[in-house]
């Protein structure tokens, strides 16, 4: 942030963005806050209810269960996608026609509408007509993701790995190609091992992009809704009902606007707090 000129007129440049985002962010947010502190018995008549909804949500087992499932899901996909993405990026070619081919093919899953991703995996994993389901059963696994909890989780995580690992690959790859050849030559002269090159040259160069990758994957996996809904519908039972799915069930399914709004705010605050930590770490790295 050094070397910038102090100029308050720069605010004028920001006004269009500010207006557009405020319109979309502030009005709906106020609506949610409004619902979260009121009780209704229908007919659009509302009563002040203070913080009761918040207390109810924070104590409800249902919320705790959804939050736990969400934490497990996000933890699992981060633990798989980040190392896997880095490993694939390290093995990618650096020059030539194959780079473009690899990049375009790898980016494909990122550009498929989320419900199509869900529908695609739903059919792909079906034990009777899907390639994956049929294949696993042919190999002797008793696989049926619509009935067995373990299989549902396996499919859900595999789908997310399929969908998003490329994002980590592309980010890590961007970090790797920015390392000048001279670094590698110096390492070779010093007789550095493969691990030492990774640990002391490649990893530090990737630190910033990997923070972005983790931040994006964290936010998006915490918000995930469409893909699991289409894949498993939150089932079997409630086994894969993540936070967003539960929220929509309460808000639109049962039309409990008060608790749903309180839950939205708690949910949003959790994401905000964790993202702020990532962001603070990231900007600190940039200033160094």
């Amino acid at each position: 942030m050094n070397g910038k000129i102090v100029n308050q007129k720069a605010w004028f440049f920001v006004i269009p963005v500010l207006l557009l985002v405020s319109f979309n962010a502030i009005v709906p947010l106020m609506t949610v806050i409004n619902y979260s502190v009121q009780e209704t018995f229908g007919d659009n008549v509302f009563f002040w209810s203070g913080l009761t909804w918040f207390q109810e949500i924070l104590r409800s087992e249902r919320f705790h269960a959804a939050l736990t499932r969400q934490a497990i899901f996000t933890g699992a996909i981060l633990a798989i996608e980040v190392p896997l993405g880095v490993a694939i990026a390290l093995a990618m070619p650096r020059k030539g026609i194959w780079v473009s081919v690899c990049l375009v093919l790898m980016a494909l899953p990122l550009l498929i509408p989320w419900n199509v991703v869900g529908a695609m995996w739903n059919i792909f994993a079906l034990p009777n007509i899907g390639l994956l389901g049929k294949g696993l059963n042919a190999l002797g696994f008793d696989y049926n993701y619509t009935r067995q909890v373990g299989d549902a989780w396996f499919t859900l995580i595999l789908m997310d790995v399929w969908h998003w690992t490329s994002l980590v690959v592309l980010l890590a790859y961007a970090g790797l190609v920015s390392i000048p050849d001279a670094y590698y030559q110096a390492a070779r002269i010093d007789g550095a091992s493969r691990w030492a090159v990774f640990r002391h040259i490649q990893l530090p160069k990737m630190r910033r992009v990997l923070t972005i990758a983790i931040l994006l994957r964290f936010m998006d996996s915490f918000n995930i809704y469409t893909e699991p809904v289409v894949l498993t519908g939150g089932g079997p039972g409630n086994a894969t009902t993540l936070l967003s799915i539960d929220l929509v069930k309460i808000a639109l399914g049962q039309f409990d606007l008060g608790p749903a709004a309180a839950m939205s705010l708690i949910y949003f605050l959790i994401i905000l707090a964790l993202s702020w930590i990532f962001y603070a770490v990231m900007t600190r790295n940039e200033e160094q």
């Binding site: 000129i5 440049f13 990618m92 494909l108 899953p109 992009v209 915490f222 799915i245």
Partner: protein
Amino acid sequence: MTRARWLVPTVYILFLLLPIYWLVSMSFKTTNEILGHFTLWPQNPTLENYRTIFTDPSWYMGYVNSITYVSLNTVISVAAALPAAYAFSRYRFLGDKHLFFWLLTNRMAPAAVFALPFFQLYSAVGLFDTHLAVALAHTLFNIPLAVWILEGFMSGVPRQLDETAYVDGYSFPRFFIRIFIPTIKAGVGVAAFFCFMFSWVELLLAKTLTAVAAKPIAATMTKTASSSGYELGLLAAAGTLTIIPGAIVIWFVRNHIARGFALGRV
């Protein structure tokens, strides 16, 4: 080790392509073949599914609607983000860091939280079921992203460029449009690509804000489940067609995409 290195990306790409292959292969099958017996490739390839989509307006209008609001969103997001990103990359001003983080928080908001209030808001201002409503709603997460990406690319341009232009007698708007934007055109392309991508793949808000006139293709697809049983072949063909616009767009930015995913900060 070095000789087998190409294996890793190859195996990964094969893994990525398998479900896509299954979708494409189903799109050439009849629903009877899909449900009847398990076949690895279409036994009697048929174009019937695609013919239905291209002749039935309730299908192909879905594509037209999606492409309309996605393009509209891309133009609005990038146009608004350009000056803002310039301000963040060149100047310090009161509350700049807080503003930047506040913008990012909107990228974090779960769409599920906003679905209902968005419906009420856009109904209240009379934009419900228009392309503009979806385009504006998607700016919520696309503008922060575009600002973030463009700021990264702009910060890579030395300030001397701006100063030289002023010395040469350029006014700010002329400098910005004639010199600065062409300099960061890769960044503009990448930002547009990301806006396109996230608007194209999002469904929850798009579906909430539309009924008939602006209904996106991805929402049209859900109808096959209800109206006439499960028409899997048709569903697969429609799904296959949703992959194509993304594949075309990605081809144009392939050389900058890695840097773009790093938000211009490598």
